[in-house]
Symmetry: C2
Subunit: 418 residues, 2 copies
C-alpha cells in the first residue's frame, strides 16, 4: 500500500476519494487537508483530516503529496515543501506548473524526487503521458487543442441554442458548470497555461505562458457563431503550438474550424487535442476535459505510476531547461473570417476588396445581410499573413463606410479528414 | 547505439528505414533480411542483407529483431527463434500475435526477453501502449474501433461516390490501397485479430480470435450505405469489445453509427478507437491506421522503449494467461437497421410490424421506396435483443411477400457527444 495525502477536497479531490473508496487500488489515503474539512465528513470518514497541510507535510509515512487546491499561493508553498521533504507530488494544477514548473522541476531534481501532472491538462485525456512517451520520437510540427471545457461548453450551447455569451454563461454558472468568477476560463488563461505546458514538453524548452498571445471567448458575439455555422464552420477556442522553419508559434484564440476538422465535433465540456507529426500524420486524443471522476482518474493514474516506480516524468526535471523563444503570431498565415458592419452604398464591396488587395489578401467568398440600410458583410479570405490581415483590418475599421463593431478570426488549417 | 535487424522490407520496413536514415535516433540497422533484397539496393545501401533471416538470428550483436514480413509461417519461426536466443522482438504482425501470442509471450518469459507490438494495431495510433499504461487503472466496459484501414477506405468511397463495393475495391487495388487478395481486410479477419489483442489486454484473459463473431464488408450493398446516409448514419466496420454484467462480448461487423458518434467522421484509411470507462467516460484515439511512415513510426517507438529499458509490455508475459470466455453477441441489445424487399400489396407493413412485435421489437421509423411494383422497406427499430432480431429476420425472410435480398445491421449505442 502506497500512502498518500490529499490537499484540497474540491471536485477533483472528491473524485479521487470516490474511486479509491472502491478499494481496487493499492493506495491508502493517510491524511486529508482542506480548509472546510469539518463540513466534508461524508467524504473523509475516519481519515485523519485538518485545515492545515502540515498534516501531510509533517507525516514522514506519506510518500505522495497530492495537491488539488488549485491556484498558485498555498499550492506553491505546499508543493515546494513536499518536494523539499523528498515526497513525490501529484498535482492537477496547470497554473502552478505553467507559472512555476521551471523552478519546481529544479527543486524536484535537487531533492531526488518527482512531480506528475497528467490531470493538469485535459482531464481524463492522457495527453501529457503520451507526449512524454510515444511522441518523443516524433517530429511534431503542430498541436491544436480544445483545452478549456467551460469555454467549449459555452460555445457549444451558443451555437446550438442561438443564445448570447452572457445568457449561456449565466446558465452555466447556475448549473455549476462555470465558476462564479469565470475569467480564467473564458479569457483563455486556463488554455494558455495548458498549451504552455504542452509546448514545454514538445519543444524541450520552457514556455512562459505570459508570452503566449491569448484571446478568450468573452467578447465573442452570437452573430459570429451563427455566421460561422451558416458557412459550415464552428468557432472553438483553439490553443495552438505550431513549428515552422525553426520558429515556434503559440496562441489561444477563437478559431473557425470546418466540418472536416477532427476538432469540429468535440462539443460541450469535452476536450480534444490534435497532434500533427512528420511521420505519423494527424492524431487525435479526445475525452472528458474536466469533472470529478475523469480528473480524479488522471490523478490516480499518476499515483499508480509512482507506485510502480515509473520514471515517465523524469526527463522533465533531469534536464537543464532553457527558455523557449516564441515568435509573433502575426508572422503566421491562414484563411480568415472577417465581419464588417458597413453602410449600404455603392462601391463599398469594391473599396473593401481594394483595401484587402492592397495588403495582398484575396477574397474567397463574400456574403451580406441587409437590415434597415445597414449591411453586415462577412468575408472568407484566401490564405493570408496574419500581419497583413491586422493591417487591412485596422485600415478598414478606420474607413467612413465601416461603422459599429467588426471582427476577424483565423480559420484553422485543413487536416487529416480532408 | 542499439543494433537492430529488420526482417521484411515491405511498406512498413521501408518506412522504418526511411525514418532511421535521417539519423536522429540511437538505432543502427545491423542487418536486413528480405526475400527480394537484391532488388532493394536503394533502401539497403551498405547494410548487410540476405534473403535468409539467419543474418539476423545468428548475429549475437543484434539485440532487437524487428519482424515485418507479416503472415504467420515464416514470421512465427523467426520470432520464436529470436526470443529463444534472448533477443527482444518488435513486430507489426497482428495475425501472428492474435494466433500465437499466448505461446510467444510464454517463450519470451522463459528466455527473459520481451515482445512489443504497438504497430500491430491501428498504425500510428498508440492504442496498445495506452491500454498498457493509463487504462490499466480504468474499469473499461467498451471498446469500439475502426481498425481496418482498407475497409474504412472502401466504405468511405462507397458513401461519397455512390459506387458499389466491387467498383471501389477494384479502384483501390489499382491504387495499391487494397491487396490483390483483399480477403483478410474486407472479410473482417484483420480487425478480428486486432480486437482480439485489445480484448486480451483489457480483460487480462487471452482472447482467441476464432471465437469472435466476424462479418466483413464484402457483402455490403451500396443501397444500404445510401439508405444509412439518408437517415443520418454512416456504416463503419466496427470491432467491438463490450463488458456487461461479467460477460464479455466481442464482434466485428458493419454497424450504423450516427452523427453524434465519435467514430462518425473517421474517414478513409484513418483508424479510430473509442474507449468507454467507468471513471473517464468516452475517450477517442484516432489517426493514421496504416501506411509506411505512420506504422514505421510505431515500430520505432517500441525499439526506443527497449533502448530505454522500458518494461511497458512486461505485464503481458509475466502473467499466467487463462482463456477469455466470450459470450454470444445474440445476447446483446441495440437498435437495428432492417431493409426488406417486399411486394407492393396491402397489409404488408402491418404483417411485418406484427412479426417484429411478436419478437418484442418495435419500430422507431419506417421508410419505403416503390419501384415497378416492388417496395424497398427500411426500418429502424427501437432497442431490441440481437437474438430476437435474428429470429424475426428469419421469420420475415421466409414470408411469401418478402423476396430478394434483405439485410439487418446493428446501430451503435450513443456516446459522449450526445
Amino acid at each position: 500500500m502506497i500512502k498518500i495525502g490529499i490537499y484540497g477536497l474540491g471536485t477533483v479531490g472528491r473524485g479521487l476519494v470516490q474511486i479509491l473508496q472502491e478499494g481496487n487500488f493499492p493506495v491508502e489515503i493517510a491524511a486529508i487537508a482542506d480548509r472546510s474539512y469539518q463540513k466534508k465528513k461524508e467524504w473523509i470518514g475516519n481519515i485523519p483530516a485538518s485545515d492545515n497541510p502540515a498534516i501531510i507535510l509533517d507525516n514522514p509515512e506519506i510518500d505522495i503529496a497530492v495537491e488539488l487546491i488549485g491556484g498558485v499561493d498555498s499550492a506553491l508553498f505546499f508543493v515546494r515543501e513536499a518536494l523539499m521533504k523528498g515526497k513525490r507530488v501529484v498535482t492537477a494544477n496547470k497554473a502552478l506548473l505553467a507559472e512555476h514548473g521551471f523552478a519546481l522541476f529544479s527543486v524536484a531534481k535537487t531533492h531526488g524526487t518527482q512531480i506528475a501532472f497528467e490531470a493538469a491538462v485535459a482531464g481524463a485525456v492522457p495527453i501529457i503521458r503520451n507526449l512524454l512517451s510515444t511522441w518523443t520520437s516524433e517530429n511534431i510540427f503542430g498541436v491544436y487543442g480544445i483545452l478549456n471545457g467551460t469555454s467549449n461548453y459555452i460555445l457549444t450551447r451558443m451555437r446550438r441554442e442561438k443564445k448570447s455569451y452572457q445568457e449561456i454563461l449565466a446558465e452555466a454558472q447556475k448549473l455549476g458548470l462555470a465558476e462564479a468568477d469565470p475569467a480564467f476560463d473564458v479569457r483563455g488563461t486556463d488554455a494558455m497555461h495548458k498549451i504552455a505546458l504542452i509546448s514545454s514538453i514538445v519543444t524541450g524548452k520552457w514556455s512562459e505562458p505570459a508570452l503566449i498571445e491569448t484571446r478568450g471567448i468573452d467578447n465573442l458575439k452570437l452573430t459570429d457563431v451563427i455566421w460561422a455555422e451558416k458557412m459550415g464552420y464552428r468557432i472553438r477556442l483553439i490553443a495552438r503550438l505550431q513549428k515552422d522553419k525553426n520558429q515556434v508559434f503559440q496562441s489561444v484564440e477563437p478559431t473557425l474550424i470546418d466540418a472536416s476538422h477532427p476538432l469540429f465535433d468535440i462539443d460541450f465540456e469535452n476536450n480534444g487535442i490534435l497532434i500533427e507529426g512528420l511521420y505519423s500524420g494527424s492524431n487525435l486524443l479526445a475525452g472528458k476535459g474536466a469533472g470529478s471522476l475523469p480528473t480524479g482518474f488522471s490523478v490516480l493514474g499518476d499515483i499508480l505510476l509512482f507506485e510502480k516506480n515509473h520514471t515517465l516524468y523524469k526527463s522533465l526535471y533531469e534536464k537543464e531547461w532553457e527558455y523557449l523563444h516564441t515568435a509573433p503570431v502575426s508572422e503566421l498565415s491562414s484563411e480568415f473570417y472577417l465581419r464588417l458592419h458597413v453602410e449600404d452604398k455603392p462601391m463599398v464591396l469594391a473599396k473593401i476588396a481594394g483595401e484587402l488587395g492592397e495588403n495582398g489578401i484575396s477574397i474567397a467568398s463574400a456574403h451580406q445581410e441587409i437590415t434597415e440600410g445597414d449591411v453586415i458583410l462577412v468575408i472568407i479570405t484566401h490564405t493570408a499573413k496574419n500581419s497583413a490581415m491586422r493591417k487591412a483590418f485596422t485600415g478598414l475599421t478606420g474607413k467612413e463606410f465601416v461603422s459599429g463593431e467588426s471582427v476577424f478570426l483565423p480559420i484553422a488549417p485543413h487536416t487529416f479528414h480532408s
